[in-house]
Amino acid sequence: MKFLALLLLSIASAFSAADSPAEKDAQLARGKLLTEQGGCAACHSPPGGPPFSGHLTAGWMAFNITSDPVAGIGDWTAQQLVQYLRSGHVNGKAQAAGPMADIISNITGKYSEKDLAALAAYLHSIPPANPGNETKSRSSWGSPAEDIDRIRGLQFEGGDLASGARLYAGNCASCHGAGGQGAPGGHYPSLINNSAVGASSPDNLINVIMTGVSRKTSDGQAYFMPAFGTALSDGQIMSVANYVLRRFGQPGVVVALKDVTERRQ
């Protein structure tokens, strides 16, 4: 009986992993079709550049999703890709916001497990491309911040001149944690090892601070971050974004005031 169960289990897993060459081909073909139907290239493929190697579209960075392990999603497991396409939420990798949140809420989040596996398999088959010569994956930056101990109890002057550390403590830390590690269990994501924070372009980070995140999964789970565009001035958004980049992202990426001001218009 135990043997039979194991046998059935191995057959089932062989099926979902698409082990035979014919099954693999069929899965990749299905994944390719879904990619085309979903219009992934419209945002992720740069005009004239390597397919799916990333592109700034309507103010949002549609990231490199080739199989390159540094610049793309080559270091994601198939299971992580499936989870991302279903929920937009993989702690330690990425959370979907902006147009990708809508894609997940309305399209990929409703796919069957089999289609999600096909899509993940196809993404893993896209030839690697690293046109920006990235040297470190966007989800591998940052370390826990300890500034809360430094600023606790101090008296400060003037709201608009507030440091990024203060703005982070007052606006972000209640959910993302004083150290940036997110909530236990990960419902509120870690900012360390987070694509939006560790990317070479700060566009998505600024957008998320200003407009928030709103995403629903097919099982009714809602992921939500409030917008801070009204509560914070342009200067404050710049300060807190730069603090987040310095602690949890690429310290070399810096937001200028005009990056925020132009976006508001």
Binding site: A169, S174, A231
Partner: protein, 535 residues
């Protein structure tokens, strides 16, 4: 020369009442000017203040009182409230953009139908000129505007036309345990309706149980009046912080013509409008009306009845604390999730006050630790101290209560003739006394406390019979049909000036036994409908 501003509607106060009115009117295309006495405080700075304050139980400390628009502060006492009565009216409120709902329990109860007819049902107090059914549609709309969760499967005594906008979050272990125990012993404990998100609602996140609703929800999952202040601004209303109104000017046609206000430096301004809505709470509103004695209203605006500032009410509170035998771990989830409602209505109301009793779900670690560290003769340290803090914080039980005091004209607030603030504006002066109606009820409340402690095998019982304020400021511009004995009519329009409205708990002729904010919000939305049609 005095600068003059103009609007269709001038709203004094940017708390939940004023902001709801302003938002509705701005949405319908009226020009709206909101004059807020206090400053604009960002949530993150309030939170920073809270994190940096030593005494976490001081709900006012994160909101420093300004010199130009002071509000009461007690540690240390800024002596803003002048107490002349036999019982001090130690009220807390905030003068900041968004008002006092920055810190509240978010309890959003409807009144019971009988709360509107105390006099005719039980022969005490007053009847409202409206009934529960008149207000029901606006209660519903208020719940939708604020975002209220409430129990779909429990009878709260206030008939509903529609379901609550949101389902409640699960009760904490503490609340569930005590609710189950008391209900199996003849009491009626229900899940409390609160303006707090159990799902993403109106651009605000779900409550994640920070357990510091008071003094500040760090993430805005709990409703604050500032939500509608900002909505009003986005809809086109002009909100002017740091604008302290000190005089209302009445014309020969008995219409209010202007609100005069000062900025923090004392510069004077004039706001003219077709309509005026006073929404500066139950203290500052009557104070302003009674200060407005220039020209044609020598006894104050809307005060031909002499009722402005009178009938001051609140919910005098008593409390009990004890240690339960079992660990209940209060402190998970919001600060309050249930209420004991067995004594909100009944024949006894002809004899003594109705009341609501509620269990605290506040984390007590700091209170318990401070208590242990104050025992100078038996100090413990290290692991033993940690163990004891954990044990006592886990078993700490506190019940509080709201008693319904009756409206008495002698209980009143007036502008002080002797004490003024930095702008030269009189401070509020109180004449207040407890009544036997409350005292008698409090004796029965104590019996309930003792019974609850018995059921929980409680030890170290301590009673707080101080009739503490619960900051539900009511009665001071009372609503009624008779212009001779009331200040506003059933539409919250002043009898004396047909373009002057009061959006506040001040209009309530009885205080009932529950938090009054939902009733304030319902009345405010009703005023907005009247004005939308009329302006």
């Amino acid at each position: 020369m005095t600068k003059t501003l103009q609007a269709d509607v001038v709203v004094v106060g940017s708390g939940v009442a004023g902001s709801l009115v302003a938002h509705q009117l701005a949405k319908s295309g009226k020009s709206v000017l909101i004059l807020e006495a206090g400053p604009r405080l960002p949530r993150w700075q309030i939170l920073e203040n809270f994190r940096n304050q030593v005494d976490k139980s001081d709900n006012d400390a994160p909101y420093p009182s300004s010199e130009y628009a002071p509000h009461p502060q007690f540690s240390p006492d800024n002596n803003y409230l002048i107490q002349k009565g036999e019982h001090p009216y130690q009220v807390q409120y905030l003068r900041v953009v968004g008002g006092t709902t920055w810190h509240w329990a978010a309890s959003t109860w409807r009144f019971l139908p009988n709360d509107f007819k105390l006099k005719s049902m039980y022969g005490v107090g007053l009847d409202w000129p409206i009934e529960y059914t008149d207000l029901e549609p606006w209660y519903q709309r208020a719940e939708e505007e604020l975002g209220v969760w409430g129990p779909a499967d429990e009878e709260l005594g206030s008939p509903r036309s529609q379901p609550y906008p949101m389902e409640p979050l699960p009760l904490s272990y503490n609340e569930e345990f005590v609710k189950t125990l008391l209900n199996s012993n003849g009491y009626n404990v229900v899940t409390e309706p609160v303006a707090r998100n159990s799902r993403t609602y109106d651009g605000r996140p779900t409550c994640c149980g920070n357990n510091n609703c008071m003094p500040i929800c760090p993430i805005g999952a709990m409703y604050n009046g500032v939500t509608h202040a900002e909505k009003a601004e986005r809809a086109g209303a002009i909100l002017r912080p740091e604008s302290v109104v000190y005089q209302l000017e009445s014309g020969a046609d008995k219409k209010i013509q202007a609100a005069l206000f000062k900025d923090p430096k004392g510069n004077e301004y004039r706001a003219e409008g077709k309509y005026f809505v006073l929404a500066a709470n139950g203290i500052e509103t009557p104070k302003l009306m009674l200060m407005s004695t220039r020209g044609l209203t020598p006894s104050g605006v809307a005060n031909s009845s002499d009722m402005v500032g009178r009938n001051l009410m609140d919910h005098p509170g008593t409390a009990v604390t004890f240690l339960a035998q079992e660990k209940l771990w209060p402190g998970r989830g919001p600060q309050e999730m249930t209420s004991l409602v067995s004594f909100r209505d009944g024949e006894f109301r002809s004899e003594y006050a109705a009341k609501k009793i509620h269990l605290s779900n506040l984390n007590r670690t700091d209170e318990v630790a401070a208590d242990l560290l104050s025992k100078g003769d038996q100090l413990i340290f290290g692991g033993e101290l940690d163990r004891k803090i954990r044990d006592r914080a886990a078993r700490f039980v506190r019940f509080d209560s709201f008693h319904e005091i009756l409206p008495h004209p002698a209980n009143r607030v007036v502008p002080s003739g002797t004490h003024r603030d930095a702008l030269g504006i009189p401070k509020p002066e109180f004449y207040y006394a407890m009544d036997d109606y409350v005292r008698k009820s409090a004796e029965h409340t104590k019996e309930v406390y003792q019974d609850a402690a018995r059921l929980l095998n409680g030890s170290e019982l301590a009673f707080y019979d101080d009739f503490a304020n619960n900051n539900h400021i009511t009665g001071t511009t009372i609503m009624g049909e008779d212009p001779g004995s009331s200040v506003v009519d059933s539409d919250c329009r002043t009898h004396d000036h047909d373009n002057l409205f009061v959006a506040s708990s001040a209009v309530m002729p009885t205080v009932g036994s529950v938090n009054c904010t939902l009733t304030i919000a319902a009345l405010a939305l009703r005023i907005a409908d009247t004005l939308t049609a009329e302006v």
